[in-house]
Symmetry: C2
Subunit: 216 residues, 2 copies
């Protein structure tokens, strides 16, 4: 059409555009039309590369899984799982819209399957009996996803914390929720507080507990 040659559309470019849209505007902004616009293309063109919007979600979730580092194989199970947990959290922080979908795809992609396989391998190689490996995986991922969910939901960042907290606490009668107020004043509003720091406490507690439950 114009003189500038257009990159040909591919599933990869489509998914990248979809992720860019979701990163910018949240999952609600992810529409067939917005992705098409991001790509400089008309909506119906996407349907030659994906079956429908569901397939786009499937695709971008697998891309997100691919961004998470696999547990390194050259260290013990504990540092390996620690590394993978921090990587997962960093990725979910970059793509906060993704968390609710990570485990909900009925057609997991190859990166997803490879990831799960590698984590199970780490556990088994680390000496976890199969049952304990299942417990450990469930616990770790529940924590990681749950934490990502909470972090994504926080209405404040360390920067705007004071303002949003003030507006927040005007909404309700403080006397009715004394412990909430105590926690806000004595903890959240103290200098240096950052919810992100909570992640390591839970992760280390969980890894401690798993180590303690390892046989032999």
């Amino acid at each position: 059409m114009t003189g500038t040659q257009r990159e040909p559309l591919t599933r990869e470019r489509l998914f990248a555009a979809a992720i860019a849209v979701a990163d910018t505007g949240g999952i609600a902004a992810l529409t067939i039309r917005s992705v098409a616009a991001e790509l400089g293309v008309k909506p119906m063109s996407l349907y030659h590369h994906v079956a429908n919007k569901e397939a786009i979600i499937d695709g971008i979730i697998d891309v997100v899984f691919g961004e998470i580092d696999l547990p390194p194989e050259d260290v013990g199970w504990r540092p390996a799982l620690n590394h993978r947990a921090h990587s997962a959290r960093a990725v979910l922080r970059r793509h906060p819209w993704a968390t609710p979908f990570m485990e909900s795809r009925s057609r997991p992609g190859p990166a997803t399957l490879r990831h799960h396989d590698a984590v199970l391998a780490t556990l088994r190689r680390g000496g976890f009996p199969i049952e304990l490996a299942g417990h450990a995986y469930s616990l770790l991922d529940s924590y990681i996803y749950g934490f990502a969910l909470e972090e994504a939901a926080l209405p404040f960042t360390p920067q705007n914390l004071n303002q949003s907290m003030a507006g927040f606490m005007e909404q309700f009668p403080a006397e009715e929720y004394p412990h909430l107020v105590e926690f806000a004043v004595q903890r959240v509003l103290q200098p240096g507080y950052d919810y992100a720091d909570e992640f390591d406490f839970g992760l280390e507690l969980i890894l401690d507990g798993l180590e303690r439950r390892l046989p032999g």
Copy 2:
């Protein structure tokens, strides 16, 4: 219109209908039109009771919070938190669509605030210094929500497990994911396996770890 007198519409009836719709058809089925139909009323009638669809979500999430038992005050912190965790999980199992929204409301309702206040009270009364109370709350809720998210996402139930697993494993070349296959065959497909049982392992591990970190 007809002879049968119609119940007057209220926010409470509206929220109850919305929850019924979501429980039946998932969050995607929750539309202004479907809620109106559930109530035997026309769509625009709802707008006399709520500002918009967001306000309906706000409302039903507060109702869901209200269904969760507060930690009982007449027992120690550990059984109290255990009780509240199981109650939360049971509620989120009943309303699986709710999990991603539980912490994402920028206008939490009274049941939500009361709930958070009561949990903090339990921790503080149990001897948790304020910082540890924050750690504990973040960890517990991350785990509970994360677990609920995973449980809601599982494509199988104990009943249909074998069939869905079989269909599932045909989708990919088994040799590429040996640990996934091992886990499926040696664990998930064994009689008596129920993902729901994983909840207690993690919860007890977390409560153990918290107890261990309590001062004095």
